[in-house]
Amino acid sequence: MIFLFYIVIVFCIIVLQTAVVPLLFTTRGFYDLLIPFVVYAGFFRPIAEGLTTVILMGLITDCLSASPFGLYLTTYVWLYVGARWLVRFFHAHSGVVLFFIVAVGVLFENILWLLTITFLGRMELISSEAVVSCVFRQVLWALFTGPFFLFGYMQIPHWMKR
């Protein structure tokens, strides 16, 4: 039941990200809206539940994107592992960390993508100015709106109990 619920949520976020957000923001500077969910899954959900959802998210997004197949899957899994590691060793699943963690996740995702593009030998095609401005815009948006998504997801167990 919980998996079905997560699948519906993930589905809604993907549709929001690929069909609604581009119509509202003409310049492509909004961040990946699935990141708050990955962070939430890493921080607050059991490994079987969280990892399965994260893998499913990665596969769907990989199929919809022009990126090399597996890039989203890789990003989400590493982000998930990172979030779990933070919880385990620093007990960083509450307080001020939640305000910054989505922005950190967005920065991590962009770094991983840019490393992949560099590795594929296509970095020469992007101007550094465009990279900095795009990443900066995404991180800024994540800083201001990410916590709202995260706190929204944290209400999921309460909704399920009702």
Binding site: V20, R122, A130
Partner: protein, 264 residues
């Protein structure tokens, strides 16, 4: 684990998408919802435009009447030009630039990543779309079909860094390859230093890649860098197509034969 991950990614990146049936299936599942969301927003936008903006419509109507009068005159001139062009084409035994059937499709979803550029359109295998078909719009080259499901297809845009189009400078016929950069400009690569290219020159498809018909607009030269060393010059090109406002596209159903096309 990291090394294994990098190796797998480098393998998958060589083939644009997986050859498994997973991609088309997932596109087939997600795309109807994308179409629904896009249509809902457009519907709400239309209500706003049609019912709440009537005040500006009257003023706009006057302006449009004047513009129409000018357009009618312009149209007459154009018709004359078309007739002249037809005569000259027959005379020179030219073939038509864009051959045969085209299919209009609506953009219903965009790539989730800002670093990769693709769109989902509402036409697929059942409409005769095949992987590799060229996609254009009245402004010029848009991209190429990369993945097809039953009623939907994924189009790799020409501005994506994985995209390449064989192109010509219209004025001097200098040849090169238009590469996407995933930003708002193309790179016109492999243009010899000796070739005459100037800022403002129009770039068109050459038809030599076996994908895009010859003569379709691609963009205009914005900047040229000729280094002291090297045999090529670096040319930046501004696309004719506004990829940020892409709503409808035309898929060319019978493009020139190329290796990239799959058999349906």
């Amino acid at each position: 684990m990291v090394v294994a991950n990098i190796v797998i990614l480098s393998i998958t990146s060589r083939h644009h998408h997986s050859s498994s049936s997973l991609g088309p299936v997932l596109i087939g599942i997600v795309a109807p919802f994308q179409a629904g969301a896009t249509r809902s927003i457009q519907f709400a936008g239309n209500i706003w435009r049609h019912y709440f903006s009537l005040v500006s419509v009257a003023r706009e109507n006057d302006n449009l009447r004047q513009a129409l009068a000018r357009a009618v005159q312009e149209n007459n001139k154009q018709r004359e030009t078309v007739l002249t062009n037809q005569r000259l084409r027959r005379l020179l035994n030219f073939t038509k630039t864009i051959l045969g059937k085209q299919l209009a499709a609506e953009v219903i979803g965009l790539d989730p990543s800002p670093w990769f550029k693709s769109v989902t359109v509402n036409k697929g295998k059942f409409n005769g779309i095949v992987k590799g078909m060229p996609v254009v719009n009245p402004d010029g080259v848009v991209g190429q079909v990369a993945e097809v499901s039953g009623h939907y297809a994924n189009v790799l845009l020409a501005i994506d860094r994985n995209s390449a189009v064989d192109a010509l400078v219209q004025r001097t016929r200098a040849r090169g390859i238009i590469k996407g950069t995933s930003s708002d400009q193309y790179r016109f690569k492999y243009v010899l230093r000796k070739n005459d290219v100037r800022v403002g020159d129009t770039i068109i498809s050459s038809g030599m890649d076996g994908v895009f018909p010859k003569g379709i607009l691609i963009g205009q030269v914005a900047d040229i860098v000729r280094r002291n060393s090297g045999i090529f010059q670096e040319v930046a090109v501004i696309p004719h197509v506004d990829f940020e406002k892409l709503e409808e596209v035309m898929i060319i159903l019978n493009p020139p034969k190329g290796n990239f096309l799959e058999t349906p």
